[in-house]
Amino acid sequence: MTLSELKQGAIGIVKEFTDLEMSVKLMEMGCLPGEEVSVARIAPLGDPIAINVSGYQLSLRKFEASTIILQ
């Protein structure tokens, strides 16, 4: 399952990334393998989404979330 499929409020754990370039940026922002993530909110128009990770909120587009594979 990818992060873009995670329901609002549900919790997942990051397993790996499908896009290396994107993964570098995401990991810098504290979104690493083994880290717990949950979907806090979805933008009114359905994209982007906001996730809780590493103790703060990060917003990213659905496409970007789809490169994050959850355990």
Binding site: E21, M22, E28, L32, A43, P44, L45, P48, Y56
Partner: protein
Amino acid sequence: MKADIRVALVGNPNTGKSTLFNTLTGLNQKIGNFPGVTVDKKTGYCQLADGRTAEIIDLPGTYSLYPKSQDESIVFSILADKANPLSPDLVVVIVDATNLKRNLLLYTQVADLKIPVIIALNMMDLAKKAGISIDVDLFAKKLGVPVVPISARKVEGIDKLRAAINFANKIALQEESIEVEAIAPDLIGQISKDLKLDNPYYALQLAHQHETIKFISAAESERIEELEHEFSFHSQKAQAAETIARYNFINDLLYDTVKIPETAKEQTLSNKIDKVLTHKIFGFIIFLAILLFMFQSIFSWSAYPMELIGDFFVWAQSNLHGILPAGPLTGLLVDGVLGGLSGVMVFIPQIAILFAFISILEDTGYMSRVTFMMDKLMRKVGLNGKSVVPLIGGFACAVPSIMSTRTIENWKDRMITIMVTPLITCSARLPIYVLLISLVVPNRNVWWLFNMQGLALTGMYIFSLISAITVAFVFKFIIKGRERGYFIMELPVYRMPRWNNVAYSMYERSKAFVFQAGKVIIAISVILWVLASYGPGERFRQIEQKYAQPQYKQNLKPEELTRAMNSEKLENSYAGMLGHAIEPAIKPLGFDWKIGIALITSFAAREVFVGTMATIYSVEGSAEKMESVQQKMKTAKNPETGQPVFSLAVAFSLMMFYAFAMQCASTVAVVYRETKNWKWPAIQFAYMTVLAYAASFIAYNLLK
């Protein structure tokens, strides 16, 4: 001022870095540019207890030393390049105590560059409130650096930080964070050897960034490239490995030094606010309401100070005319330079108010929610969630709005935003629209409620928004992107705005505008003044002689005589000749040479149109008296046909022209300042002029 030590402030965005900078330096700061790039360089001075002066440099906020934007690339250049004139003796890394994990990534990178470093643990008050407990002593001991808990907002711990700067080591004593060599042992070893470097992390960073940084020679860069091939170095993989190693180190560090309760209170409050502010329906309604309020305020609050500034210059000009001897030099100084200066200064209230709003919206964290809500919509037309604010600001004035596009990291999105912002109906177009609409649109109500003139004006505003979006959509396919677009963005916790920062931001932006765009505007104003006040050969003297004849002197009052003479002089000036010269070109748009003069003189600023019309139609008194211009324009007849000059077709043709044409020297100057390349203002000027001509032509021929 000469400083004894130089201190760089480094930290993530939203950590209170600028608040700390303002607190440390007070008003004792200045803003310049980092050489070669359009990144604001803020430096200030701070007195230390032993009498020494520390120069503080505020570096752009960044999450890591691997840059994602031009602003961020400055940080590495300043910190790593020892030959840089701004190379710091000490780095203060400011970290948010409520979000230590992510904040410490940057710290470990900076620490590994082996520059003496101090950690300022900011927002301690909020961390305490949220129930986060930090064993500061153990934390400092494990890292081997001084750690000062502060609250920059509440000015707590600042003295201790100043003392820590005072007693800072001259050599770096911090503990190793990760084993840098392990990431690419052979490559790091060989680069260090060939370039004679003593810091493995610096060598690794050069391997990553050698193509973009400017402070190493081409030969060195080539050598690094060769070595990368030799050792088959993969930049992104290495970076991923480094980041993972750093977070492992940080997790170990935080394990026994920091206790965080399950969910921080602050976050839950922020979530509650977000439930309303980013709600499907209320979110947009609130956003619209905030925009309306902002837009209204920029208009209404700036009206009075703008009038004051205008009046002051009129007063100064008339007084100086009285004091100084009449002559070309006085004319140049008073009408050319002072006139140009007033054109610059008059924008200050709008710039200051717009930036006050922007800094409040940014400070509270609302701006990132706007971006969050609007991103999908804006992306469709080639813009970015962050383009919303500059576009809305464009309703007041394109100049500060273009300055505010710097928050857009993606180069292509930023360029498109800059290119289309001047299409939005700015406040300088308002007097022109008001004048022309009142000339041709009847002042009566339709369907009881709506005033026709008001509807026409609203139509012009909506039209401008549609044209900006359409042009953006076209540029989406023309401009080639340099990088992949990202939208990985922190949504900071909601906070109260810091009024000090708001005031600083108003002051800074106004100052930057006056000093940087001001030069170009004054230069263009002087040129236009010369064109309008001088004519070829003997013409001006002949006009003066003509009006000196008794039949004029006897039949006309002195003021009427001067007005008639000035009007005829303008017609015969270089500007007037240009007006005549371009008449064939503008005739298809329904314009005569008089309007041609106004188009030329209003090149520097649209609002000059009304003033020029006043002079051409030799209106009584100053240009401020709009009714009288209106009267004269209304009665103006075309000498050939006997029809009124300002028909519905001509008026709308003119409005279309002003809606599209880049008749604003300030915008040209600020686009150059922001892009550092004349190509962009040139393209913008060209496409807007073409659109203006086409739109006018269509409007005139449809309504004729």
